[in-house]
Symmetry: C2
Subunit: 199 residues, 2 copies
């Protein structure tokens, strides 16, 4: 069992987290979901979901997957050096990193996306470039994989990305089985993106 | 602001809850999401999400929407008279009731679905009929509306149903705007159901 360590902060976007958690947590005996925040305790999403978290731990030799959601709370966190430093420590030791929506902007502040391809929410695309111009932001993509880092578009795109991650790790049939179980029409093609703006 | 009172219990299915909560909670200034369980405290989903809940309250004159998720935990609860009695009290006073997946089987045990049309998870359809034969179970439907009760198919179908509920209450354009915001391809037709078995 590998841990999926999900980074929470006040005003995270609900479905950014629980779409991928549903997909990964439904795979039998593969992943153990853990919810963490800078200081631990109850963290509330923008939609008022109160989730119990454990404090950020010093990463050890365990292998784990890091899940970074987006949300309106990122607007403050991109300027929060303590949070970003701690996020970098967690990200440095992750076997894989998955971000949803503006979670990629948080990750970009660690410098770990510099020179890499990544995507984000389509409604804030000018912000992504402003915050982190050294990232090769992909404008039209449901999700993007570069090395061990997966970044997805807004909110529900995280479900498609998580299924894509499962397909890469365990085969396409496993991803299709999960999609069937959760009665979800998987957008299997990472370039499918009707929410990208023109041009 | 109306409350969306979500009934949680151990081993609820993560996305059954947080799909509709994302949709309803994203609508500005309309809904306040509240998480409740029989005795309050931390309740964990099947995917290990720890959510803080308040105990079931005696319903008062407030108008509210009741959201009942499904999940493997329903297998025990259908036999739990105390839980079902309390659920009936909450459901009796709800302005609207929304169920996802096997949440409809919990609601059916209160008798409130007798003679009504409803749907549920497609993988447990024989169980639905066995538990509550007085319900007109609809085999092929993404979601079903009968009076003030909406029931949806498995897991991600709750997102489509919640958007359908928003469309009924506030107009189709509002539902489409939310779908755009959360980058979700809404299945607008409640009869769309590729997950229904043959026949």
């Amino acid at each position: 069992m590998k841990d999926v360590i999900t980074v929470l902060y006040d005003d995270f976007e609900t479905l950014d987290v629980f779409g991928p958690v549903e997909v990964l947590g439904t795979l039998p005996d593969r992943f153990n979901t853990v919810f963490t925040s800078l200081n631990g305790g109850i963290i509330k999403s923008s939609q008022n979901v109160p989730v119990l978290t454990v404090p950020f731990e010093e990463p050890d030799a365990r292998t784990y997957i890091l899940l970074i959601p987006g949300g309106i709370g990122t607007r403050l966190l991109v300027k929060d050096g303590v949070f970003i430093d701690n996020l970098r420590r967690l990200a440095d030791h992750a076997e894989f990193i998955l971000t949803v929506c503006t979670g990629s902007i948080l990750l970009s502040k660690t410098g770990m996306l510099d020179g890499k391809q990544a995507t984000s929410n389509k409604r804030v695309f000018s912000w992504t470039g402003m915050e982190s111009p050294a990232v090769n932001w992909v404008k039209k993509a449901r999700w993007v994989k570069d090395g061990n880092i997966y970044t997805s578009s807004g909110v529900s795109a995280g479900i498609d990305m998580a299924l894509g991650f499962v397909a890469d790790q365990f085969g396409r049939d496993t991803a299709l089985q999960i999609a069937q179980t959760i009665e979800y029409e998987w957008h299997e093609d990472p370039t499918w993106d009707p929410f990208a703006g023109p041009g």
